[in-house]
Symmetry: C2
Subunit: 203 residues, 2 copies
């Protein structure tokens, strides 16, 4: 669909606010930056910020809907596929992308910013819950055992959380290619172990 100038300008404003905000947050920490400051830096009214983003946290977590990935992967898989294997494959792929050169430093900085802010941590938990919900829904479409589906989704979310911690623990801030390769191997080992546990339990 073609976007008129009005809509284009709107998106432009939105993007400008988001960019400015992200920069400030990464630089000085989420809690140390006020919405008023963001507005001033983006040269808009405070109200305009809230017109585009329902809450301050949305300025940081701007990509909407990424948490639907697992549910989508499950829906895209053939009906007889093992859900855990589908989820594992999808998770490994996602991890590889995050470890791609150039993204890594940015990613760690993002996560560190999250972990330094109670508000962002709370939001991350909320998002994880929505992931669980959507994944449960997708699983319910292929199997009638709701309790098991619900459990599968919850265990997947738990696994993801643990692996995310492992990723942060294993990766050095300044990754030389050698270190990175080794860390990546250790990480994929951990991923395999964790998903093996899930598969053994749920299989």
């Amino acid at each position: 669909m073609e976007l008129g100038r009005r809509e284009r300008k709107k998106q432009q404003t939105r993007q400008a606010i988001s960019d400015v905000a992200t920069g400030l947050f990464l630089e000085r920490g989420f809690d140390a930056v006020t919405v008023a400051e963001v507005a001033r830096a983006a040269d808009v009214a405070v109200q305009t910020v809230f017109n585009h983003f329902p809450a301050k946290e949305d300025l940081f977590f701007d990509e909407a809907g990424w948490w639907r990935g697992p549910a989508r992967a499950v829906r895209a898989a053939p009906p007889d596929a093992d859900p855990i294997s589908v989820l594992e494959t999808q998770y490994v792929q996602g991890t590889r992308e995050r470890l791609a050169v150039g993204h890594l430093a940015t990613w760690k900085q993002f996560v560190r910013t999250i972990e330094a802010s109670p508000a962002l941590l709370a939001r991350r938990r909320l998002t994880a819950e929505e992931l669980e919900r959507s994944l449960t829904e997708a699983l319910d479409e292929r199997s009638p055992d709701h309790l098991k589906n619900r459990l599968t989704a919850a265990l997947y979310a738990a696994a993801q959380k643990v692996l995310e911690e492992k990723l942060m623990a294993v990766l050095p801030d300044d990754a030389s290619p050698d270190e990175l390769a080794q860390a990546q191997q250790e990480l994929e080992q951990a991923i395999a172990e964790v998903f093996a546990v899930l598969r053994r339990g749920l299989g």
Copy 2:
């Protein structure tokens, strides 16, 4: 230790505030009651409320430290016991207590109040995370495999969440003894299944 009049009065004030607050929250919902109202109803200054409770949510979740239960159970168990079985036993016991006559209605009302409030839901998630942390610590004391311990704690928390949902889904608001017995049986069945998954995966 003997409590002087000063300390006694302090606890008395604290209790009065907590009681008044809980009543208001259960009756009208957490978000619909302001701290100022609580203070007025308890006949104290708003500041006094915050002297005793660091945040509004603490007025609702008053029992401190119950989330350390699983960690304590693990520490209390013999070193060669299977952690999952220890946790299952502890969980079943806790559930039975909650289902005890007279407690049930109150309990459901509590949970409904939580589920109606974003702030209380966020706090519950935070508490679950602290449970995980403390449980991981306890497990680390008996086995050196940190990743597995971390995973065990995360999966336990996930299981607990799923079973809590099941409990709410299965129990009717007005439980006749018959219904309650049947619901209880269905619930314990679910508990057994869920923990069986964990045991199979982690064992």
